[in-house]
Subunit: 502 residues, 2 copies
């Protein structure tokens, strides 16, 4: 039996959920493979309706889902209701993207005389890669788990999904799966469109199964390496899209420190302590100028930190890592700056929000180790050259943030240019937490933030689950509807010219 | 000193080219890194002009390039002139794609009130990934080498390139590099936009260098594995795009065999013996129906094969592999069917075009081993179910081809559906060799044809060298021109709606 644990008390209880045995993993993967062809011939309109139905089903199960997720994560109903809304929104956004149809990148090159002689008719679009295994994260029981963006984007692509239930929220995973499976039944989707496996061993067997054609993962670098090793034993390699770790540097310019010290301190405090600091986009290092304005900002940040409530971490492993990493950071030269009161020793996975301090000049990769939880390293600097040099010495990130003033436009532009190689999203006068789910979003950075040239949030996340296929001189009946000559109701590139539907 | 060998005689001669020492590899990679930022700020219009200039430079050097390549490859002036035209065309096609600008996937989501509350302005486009190492192939001294599609697409993306000269055509590689470097100088491109290294050791050091951010490769699975292992020793992993191996099944339906036996035999003969069978898209297996029509087709194919001239292979390794693989295929059950006269024992790398025979029912992965050279396995079948089952037992390919009649549209459509999971391009009533270079082309299949979800031929090959970057609430001056509010002259997705330039 799997257990479920209340992070507020640390008390575990048995569930009715059994780890999925090897034979069942195989049956579930084969069911996904059988669903793949069936999902494909049902076409885009069917899949869009299915995604909308999933969004509606998630909203309908809101009360029950939030209650069980709160018991398993301690994230609280406000955050969890927001996250559930985001999950439902994601299903609907992908439904819209599937209807719009650009994502298939349909292109038709008619037979033509060219500078290289007569050439055949060639048509190309992206097609589903096949069944996808999804490994969700502990910190987003909805939006990066069974109801999350990897699942929604894979269904959008036309790929059946087998989710691996997260050990930190098995009951939430189960209820999420049942919610989606019911939506599939109602919509008439093939059995096997969504599946779930429980337990670490089942997850390993899942990624080794020949029917699985790609893997989506959100979690730690260590867990990713273990899965990657399992994938490495396959006869046929498959793509592994991992969102892994991120330190998310935030830079306060001298102008911004002078103009908005209290406002930035307040925003930064909220950003690094929200969801108990357990967000992949949490700012982990803040570069603050030397001098009075910087001192005021840091003092305000310290005051807020000292007065802060404890954060509830998601599980015992994250709880013990928090102390271990804080120790390592201090050992690497980060000095204690401020710390909230120690939480009551009630068995819960609670920790005090913590500020450490160093300098940009002393910044190293060791001081930039990601700490999952409410911990922020403040790095003071004399000039911005020290900051960009420091960013070049630490691991690359999902995001980099600059607070600057309207009088510093050139400074901000130069900083963005210097930071661009080190991040996937550049934020100005905001905070990297709170990721907008939209068409233009990019959530994926250079290694080790992710291992991918694609995003895991936003519409283009669908590209991970697609592969291109071309047809040469194919008869009309052998072409997918999107590539036939008649207007297909989607944007297409025809003889090199991007053409909108009539 | 590196040597160069005439495949017609097998005679080697010293060149003036030294293997690139370790220290020089580092200097060349750093020069590429230095060029990256500089190329980037020059923008798309500059790069398009540079690509056009490269195309022109290649045409101007035609006589010299074809002569040196012919001496090193034995491919002959007709083929090489055609390939050089293709190289020049590729540079110009990418120039057009860079000007058109869709490839950056520009998207703007303005700040908005959404179902998830107020959301910030987010803008996204694809940016160059950084310096790219390119390993060309022996069989395309121009179009998949230093003047090839990987180089052209990387420059189009805005990435400097360091090519590794192919050991089979070092002088062609050197002259190609000099041609491109001169075009760069004339166009005012930064030094380091193109570089070259010589020798296997230098190639290994190149992919391990931190400045290199992606690798393009066309060659054997074994060579790819060696490079992948070298890449695996890096601190930061980088994408490796490999075009590796392909057997390219071709299916003749009963109707097509009855209607066009001689025509198909002639086309198939040309396709499997062209360029001495050294094309990644060479049909390696032809499924032909049992019975009289099939017999006639096979007899004609055998007659043409028996009368054929010898093929000149590219180097001693490919020459000895040809015999080894033919032996293995016979050991795996493929019977001799027809063979041209043995070439004169003049030291050249010549081989007789060779037909082997088996059945679809007996088809195994061993009989489907790719043989680089003029060798084709004919597999006879009783019904098409045997063929689709056989395709499921052999490695996946770049292409799959069906010859069918207009009366068999349903048969062709069903075959295409069955073949789709096993190929990247489906060809109807044609031959897989002779790959059109165009917007809709797809040259990349499921593993082991390539290891990628992208193509290496055609405009979308550029996607391999790009990564997405998002800007949140950025001031206008900190945004690239493509993402500013004013019409940028390129297609963009604005608030979710694909919008063509005014």
């Amino acid at each position: 039996m799997l257990t479920t644990t209340d992070p507020r008390s640390g008390v575990s209880a048995a569930t009715t959920i059994e780890p999925t045995p090897t034979a069942s993993v195989s049956v579930i993967a084969e069911a996904a493979a059988a669903a793949a062809a069936s999902l494909s011939w049902r076409g885009r309109a069917f899949r869009a309706d299915l995604l909308d139905a999933m969004g509606t089903a998630v909203e309908r199960a809101r009360t029950e889902l939030v209650a069980v997720a709160d018991a398993e994560t301690g994230l609280g109903p406000v955050r969890l209701n927001g996250e559930l809304s985001r999950s439902a929104f994601q299903f609907r956004l992908f439904a819209a993207a599937v209807r719009e149809g650009s994502y298939v990148e349909a292109a038709i090159d008619h037979a033509a005389d060219t500078p290289l002689g007569p050439q055949p008719d060639v048509r190309r679009m992206l097609v589903p890669i096949g069944p996808v295994a999804v490994f969700g994260s502990s910190n987003f029981p909805f939006a990066f788990s069974v109801l999350g963006g990897d699942v929604a984007s894979a269904i959008a692509a036309g790929c059946p999904v087998v989710a691996k239930a997260h050990g930190s929220h098995p009951r939430t995973s189960q209820l999420s799966f049942e919610t989606l499976a019911a939506a599939c039944r109602t919509a008439g989707a093939p059995a096997g469109t969504v599946g779930i496996v429980y337990g670490q061993q089942a997850g390993t067997e899942l990624v080794k199964h020949p029917a699985i054609r790609a893997v989506g993962f959100t979690g730690s670098l260590g867990a990713a390496e273990a899965l990657q090793a399992a994938i490495g034993t396959r006869d046929e390699p498959i793509p592994f899209f991992g969102e892994l770790s991120s330190i998310n540097p935030l830079i306060v310019t001298p102008g911004a420190a002078a103009a908005r010290p209290a406002e930035i301190a307040a925003g930064l405090f909220t950003s690094y302590t929200g969801s108990a600091g357990q967000l992949c986009t949490k700012p982990g290092i803040a570069f603050v100028p030397d001098g009075e304005a910087g001192d005021a900002l840091v003092a305000e940040l310290a005051t807020r930190t000292t007065a802060a409530d404890p954060g509830i971490l998601l599980n015992a492993r994250i709880r013990s890592s928090f102390d271990d990493i804080a120790d390592r950071l201090r050992g690497a030269g980060a000095e204690p700056l401020a710390r909230a009161a120690e939480p009551a020793a009630d068995g819960g996975f609670t920790v005090p929000p913590t500020l450490l301090e160093t300098t940009a000049v002393a910044m190293t990769a060791e001081v930039a180790e990601e700490c999952f939880g409410p911990l922020l390293v403040v790095a003071r600097y004399a000039d911005l050259g020290e900051v960009t040099a420091a960013v070049g010495r630490i691991p690359r990130s999902l995001t980099a943030t600059v607070h600057g003033e309207p009088t510093e436009t050139d400074v901000v532009a130069d900083l963005f240019e210097a930071l661009a190689p080190f991040a996937g999203r550049l934020v100005h006068n905001g905070y990297p937490t709170g990721v907008r789910v939209s068409w233009a979003q990019q959530h994926g950075g250079p290694w080790p933030a992710t291992n991918s040239q694609h995003t895991s949030v936003g519409v283009t996340a669908v590209r991970r689950w697609l592969r291109p296929l071309a047809w040469q001189n194919a008869p009309e009946a052998a072409l997918p509807r999107e590539l036939r000559d008649a207007d297909a109701g989607i944007p297409r590139r025809i003889d090199g010219v991007l053409t909108l539907p009539v």
